[in-house]
């Protein structure tokens, strides 16, 4: 039987692999036959992810992505050991719920650094000769909040919307290098980040958010499936776009 999303012989780097969408993406990629480089700050949670993966040849890289300008060299060092990689997925990120009247430039900077600038530097790193195999594919995890908005989400929305724009320019610039670049835009997915958000939101409001999803709150596997689709040969002719994975949230 054919598996059009097979990842055999391909190595993918996944940031945010310690939890949530990143962890589930790493697991799925290993189930599809791929090798995964697991990146996050928390080594012990990376080791948990590693223990869930199937197959061998996976690698843990405990790394704080805030060392932004060092990211390209770091990717080069890794791939001298692993060989060229077939793609990367940027799942690492943070969320914030804050009224505009309290927003500071420092908060905007912090959010942009991890959600956006790290993504740019990862792409810059992957583009280098010897770092990427051919073909290679980049996926950024954006959000429906990069397309529609919500009160208290000005900073978060900005960072996620930026990824959508980033994917378009990078898709054009990197196509001759053999790299495809896309985003996924999930709505609300059952992860620790969502639980954190739930703590900050009144029950009535959270229930309203849940009911705004015709298909209910998503599971990490729902987003991982979309990411793998874009990374694998199934995404061969897809670049510069954003795949919305939202349980119908944006249909109304």
């Amino acid at each position: 039987m054919l598996n059009p999303m097979a990842m055999t012989g391909r190595t993918i780097l996944v940031t945010g692999a310690s939890a949530g969408i990143g962890r589930e993406t790493a697991l799925l990629l290993s189930q599809l036959g791929g090798q995964v480089i697991l990146v996050a700050r928390d080594r012990s949670r990376l080791e948990e992810t590693h223990s869930l993966l199937v197959g061998t040849g996976h690698r843990i890289e405990s790394r704080d992505l805030s060392m932004l300008d060092e990211i390209p060299n770091w990717l080069q060092q890794i791939t001298t050991e692993t060989g060229p990689i077939s793609g990367l997925v940027h799942c690492a990120g943070m969320q914030m719920l804050i009224p505009l009247r309290q927003v500071t430039a420092v908060q905007v900077g912090t959010m942009m650094n991890i959600n956006l600038t790290a993504a740019i530097m990862l792409a810059r790193g992957l583009r280098q000769k010897g770092v990427h195999a051919l073909p290679a594919s980049i996926v950024f995890v954006s959000s429906v909040m990069g397309i529609v908005g919500a009160t208290g989400r000005s900073v978060y929305s900005s960072s996620k919307g930026a990824l959508i724009a980033l994917a378009k320019s990078l898709a054009l610039e990197l196509s001759k290098d053999g790299l495809r670049v896309n985003c996924v835009a999930p709505a609300f997915v059952k992860t620790a980040m969502l639980e954190q958000m739930q703590e900050l939101t009144a029950t009535a409001q959270f229930e309203a958010i849940e009911s705004a999803h015709p298909l209910g709150i998503g599971q990490p596997r729902d987003v991982a499936n979309a990411i793998a689709f874009l990374l694998a040969d199934t995404g061969r002719w897809i670049t510069g776009t954003t795949l919305v994975v939202d349980g119908g949230y944006m249909a109304s």
Binding site: L97, I98, R101, G152
Partner: protein, 76 residues
């Protein structure tokens, strides 16, 4: 932080003139809405390092209740 400073922070959060709040007001008598709730959670984190939940704050009915949440980080 002194009580009077906390009240000024709260004035600022609710976009009231500094010195408006005395500390005994019922929340439904001041401009306290869902944005104020989000803002209060952010304020508790930023100024006091306290990670409160919406449930904690929703139990409050007065400014005095909000101060109780912050606890001994506010002195008289």
């Amino acid at each position: 932080m002194k009580r009077v400073e906390f009240l000024k922070l709260l004035d600022e959060l609710l976009e009231l003139e500094p010195g408006t709040l005395r500390g005994n007001e019922a929340l439904d008598s001041i401009p306290w809405d869902s944005l104020a709730l989000i803002g209060f959670l952010a304020m508790a984190d930023a100024h006091f390092g306290l990670v409160l939940t919406a449930k904690d704050v929703l139990k409050c009915e007065s400014v005095a209740d909000l101060m109780k949440l912050i606890g001994d980080r506010i002195s008289n």
